[in-house]
């Protein structure tokens, strides 16, 4: 079979063993492509383990600027004998299989519809290095060097990246560049470089990325920066994948930005709590006392925080929670992605509760929405939950640069200080709806010697914060909370609508990391003559444009990464959409980021055959097991 031809448009996947240092070499590979100005989206597919298990790194190169997963693999770089059988199987016909040829390939791994490139990686390492650790580490750098020749990566960019990476450890630069050259020269000498699948600088790129002023960044770091910019001073957390790096990054930036120059003391506090219950309690306590505080967690933590979220909702204490979702239920697949906490977060806690949710889709949105979350939480005096996920939080994404408007001021919400309390003639009622928007006024502890003190509680109270079991007072309060939620609709980020080229009654609704592959799938279908308008939800409660979109379309595909169609259910619950059958669930929940091909296939199936049975293809078996 003829090798596949592709310029700036392919999927390459690395099969490694975790704990062998492959991550930094693979990261350098992706970053080099990014620096060549070619859209790239790398993803780690890793086990819940520290050392010795298979791990994959998938890099999609897309000159059109598609950043979601496409599906399928064109080049497989296999450095892990453990997973070789499945890795060979996963290559698309016409693709390449790159392997360590120190030992001959077993016949069972030979397919006649793909092409093999053997690099004697172990042999080169044995020859060049004596130290076992070096042999392991440089193997990764050598294959990156070889790929530079095979795929036409700019070698000077790779050299710059090595220098960047080892800033402060300069003595490591030369040996790393030497290792890159070892690989590069071997490939040049033994193969017809570059391959038919390759990169080309200056080739027309990026239909979706107007100017290439992008950054490459993970969502968790962006969210952490958002918390810094929002003026968060207290973070309380309990370690859990995939959210840990949020607080790690917050810590890192605070060490740089929040040390008082005079005293060397910290203008922030980070506490690693004993569990997520405690973390949430600390966030509530700090916010109650007038500091901006947040926590970051994942599904199991959200479950534990639920009781406290109900308290914050009912006692009206602002709080910010970043939920970096992973595959549940229970411990589920802790290092795989999903969007399956939607309902648990929207209705966290017993009784009638509803929470404000934000759905970022890019690192830039992780940043801006986290900044916004603190304003919303304080304006609305309620928890705000940022619904990120593992794919967005832990992978590097090409994103528009982070932006911050210096004229913007924090919205600290309705807080009465000593002066305001003194100026007041009427009696202070903590839960009095003075402005008719459902949002009452609060005071900070210690604000005034004789005015404004009140009793915060999770029990029913009247407008003046006094305990009551009077049913009427309870109902007034619950109805006011509902009114407040109505007020929220106008304050949360609006949904994004994209009209199809031709008028259509088909719609698609999605959010978060489903957006990239969904937009791509819609374009695939448009080329086939299937036109679909799209709505990207960015917040709950749903605002008017969401209702309008649902009214304007007869058939709406709700695309999401969970089994039960949780966003679809939330839409059915919380909007006026009348006919349940109009919302068609398009679901993927195997723990890997959903691909454009899969979404397109399911929608196509529905439109042509009337069902959404997922299409099966050769590659899927390998991916499910990954």
């Amino acid at each position: 079979m003829q090798p596949k031809h592709a310029i700036n448009d392919f999927v390459i996947k690395f099969a490694n063993v975790n704990g062998t240092g492959s991550a930094s070499a693979n990261g350098m590979f992706a970053k080099a492509i990014f620096r060549m100005g070619i859209p790239v989206s790398p993803r780690n597919i890793f086990p819940s383990n520290i050392q010795g298990m298979p791990t994959w790194y998938e890099v999609r190169v897309s000159q059109d600027g598609y950043l979601g997963r496409r599906g399928g693999t064109d080049i497989m770089v296999c450095v892990n004998p453990q997973s070789m059988a499945k890795d060979v199987e996963g290559v698309e016909p016409g693709g390449y299989f790159v392997y360590d040829s120190t030992k001959p390939l077993e016949p069972r791994f030979i397919r006649d519809d793909i092409h093999y490139i053997g690099l004697p990686l172990t042999e080169i390492c044995l020859r060049e290095y004596t130290d076992a650790r070096q042999r392991l580490l440089f193997k990764n750098v050598i294959y990156v060097g070889a790929l530079a020749a095979l795929l036409n990566i700019d070698f000077t960019i790779l050299k710059d990246l090595v220098s960047d990476q080892f800033k402060g450890k300069e003595r490591l630069i030369t040996p790393n560049i030497y290792a890159l050259e070892l690989g590069y020269q071997h490939a040049q000498a033994n193969f017809n470089c570059p391959l038919s699948i390759r990169l080309e600088r200056g080739h027309k790129v990026a239909k979706h990325i107007e100017d290439f002023d992008n950054i490459l960044m993970d969502g968790n770091t962006a969210a952490a920066l958002g918390a810094v910019y929002a003026g968060a001073t207290v973070a309380a957390w309990y370690p859990i994948t995939p959210s840990t790096s949020v607080v790690d990054a917050f810590d890192k930036y605070c060490r740089r930005l929040r040390i008082d120059p005079g005293t060397g003391k910290k203008n922030y506090a980070i506490v690693q709590a004993e569990d997520e219950l405690s973390a949430m309690g600390m966030v509530i306590g700090a916010n109650w006392n007038g500091a901006r505080a947040f926590t970051a967690t994942s599904g199991p933590g959200v479950s534990l925080m639920s009781e406290f979220l109900g308290l914050a909702y009912f006692a009206e204490v602002p709080s910010v929670l970043i939920d970096v979702q992973r595959a549940g239920p229970s411990t589920g697949m802790p290092t795989r992605t999903q969007q399956s906490d939607i309902l648990a977060a929207a209705y966290a806690s017993h009784g009638d509760t509803k929470h404000v949710l934000l759905f970022p889709a890019t690192p830039a949105e992780c940043f801006s929405m986290t900044v916004e979350a603190f304003d919303l939480a304080e304006r609305l005096q309620t928890p705000v939950i940022i619904m990120s996920d593992l794919d967005l939080g832990m992978n590097e994404w090409m994103s528009p640069p982070l932006e911050f408007d210096d004229s913007y001021r924090y919205d600290r919400g309705k807080v009465l200080d000593a002066e305001a309390l003194d100026a007041m003639t009427e009696r202070f009622g903590r839960y009095l709806d003075v402005d008719g928007d459902g949002i009452p006024y609060r005071t900070y502890p210690g604000a005034h010697p004789s005015k404004g003190a009140y009793f915060t509680r999770g029990t029913s109270r009247d407008e003046y914060a006094a305990y009551t079991e009077d049913g009427q007072a309870y109902v007034r309060n619950m109805d006011r909370l509902l009114k407040k939620f109505e007020t929220a609709k106008a304050l949360v980020p609006e949904a994004k609508i994209k009209q199809a080229e031709m008028e259509t009654r088909n719609g698609a609704v999605f959010f978060g990391t489903t957006a990239s592959p969904a937009y791509e799938a819609i374009e695939i279908l448009e080329k086939e003559g299937i036109c679909i308008d799209t709505l990207r939800i960015r917040a709950f409660p749903f605002s008017e444009e969401v209702e309008q979109f649902l009214r304007d379309h007869d058939r709406i595909f709700v695309i999401e990464q969970n089994r039960d169609g949780q966003m679809r259910r939330l839409l059915l619950n919380e909007t006026n959409v009348s006919v349940k059958d109009r919302l068609i669930p398009i679901l993927e929940y195997d723990g890997l980021p959903v691909t454009a091909r899969k979404i397109a296939g399911m929608i196509r199936n529905f439109i042509t055959l009337g069902n959404v049975t997922p299409i099966t293809r050769r590659a899927s078996a390998q991916e499910v097991s990954a």
Binding site: R35, I215, L216, L225, V228, Y229, G231, T233, V234, A236, L257, D260, T263, K265, K266, N267, Y268, A269, V271, A273, D275, L277, S278, A279, M280, G281, M282, I284, G285, A286, N287, W288, N289, A291, A293, E307, F308, L311, L402, E403, F404, D406, R409, Y410, Y444, P445, G446, H448, P449, S450, A453, F455, T456, R457, G458, A466, Y467, T468, E469, D470
Partner: protein, 349 residues
Amino acid sequence: MTYIKPSFRHPKAPVNELGWTRQDYEGGLSTLCAGCGHDSISAAIVDACFQLNIEPHKVAKLSGIGCSSKTPAYFLSGSHSFNSVHGRMPSVATGANLANRDLVYLGVSGDGDTASIGLGQFAHGARRNLNMTYIVENNGCYGLTKGQDSATMDTGSVNKKGDRNVSSPMDVARLAIEVGATFVGRSFSGDKEQLVPLIKAALSHRGFALLDVISPCVTFNNHAGSYKSYEYFRSVKEVMPLDFVPVREEITASYASGTTCEVRMHDGSLVRLTKQDSDHDIEDRQSALQAISHYESQGKVLTGLLYIDRDSEELHDVLGTARRPLNSLTEQELCPGSRFLDSINAGLR
């Protein structure tokens, strides 16, 4: 229904140094059962704060859930208060304290709230040496849910149904000493003489001050056979009397040496106590634990200041937070602005 006390003030009512009367430190009318030990503790808190000249608005009251946790409504109505969820007061107190280190944090909890559902948070609050006073109103049962056994119920004690407890009790004072609390006392709701100065000392302590206060539940655990009844506890308590001398007051009374000990608190005030046992070194963890065990082996319960570490590092010291309360930092001080973001973006290209 809200209970508001008549606010008549006697013209000759004594005032403290701030010009406040004792009544200014009171709260709403209690809804607890008549004779409940918890009400006596509330009264002792009022006395202690009045006498210490604490400004009510500089106190933050925190509690969990239970009859005991309701009591912040019955004292210091001029303070903000947070009645949180069952067993989780320590975390809310931690967050509040991180936000503003300049308030006095007073937590009230029950034995169910602290020793069962909240044991983890309690132990971790103590371990972090959070700067707060934490009072456990210990009645050996769950008052609010109608008298079930709690984890502090003593072995051999008989509950309201007539069952004798065979499990070992959780001793929150001993646990607090073990995990790192820096001020640990035990007292009795019926012993105002000891309780008021003990609360004053606890409030003056810098760090985690635990007071385990036996506080009989007259409705569910005050019968014959209960080890937490008024009568029984009176018969077994071994009292170490205690005096609290504020910073500026002259020291007059003298005590027989050997059993008297004076402890200068972090803020300069003085605690003077008469020990029952001259071997008990209240500044030594092991000695304190030994003294507790020693009396226990004789069927007695030692009350008073059991242990103190005067110069410990509280949570803010450990974290290295700024002297200024974090909640007072301004937007200008906290937000790095767009220039820094430009450098972040540049580093990600």
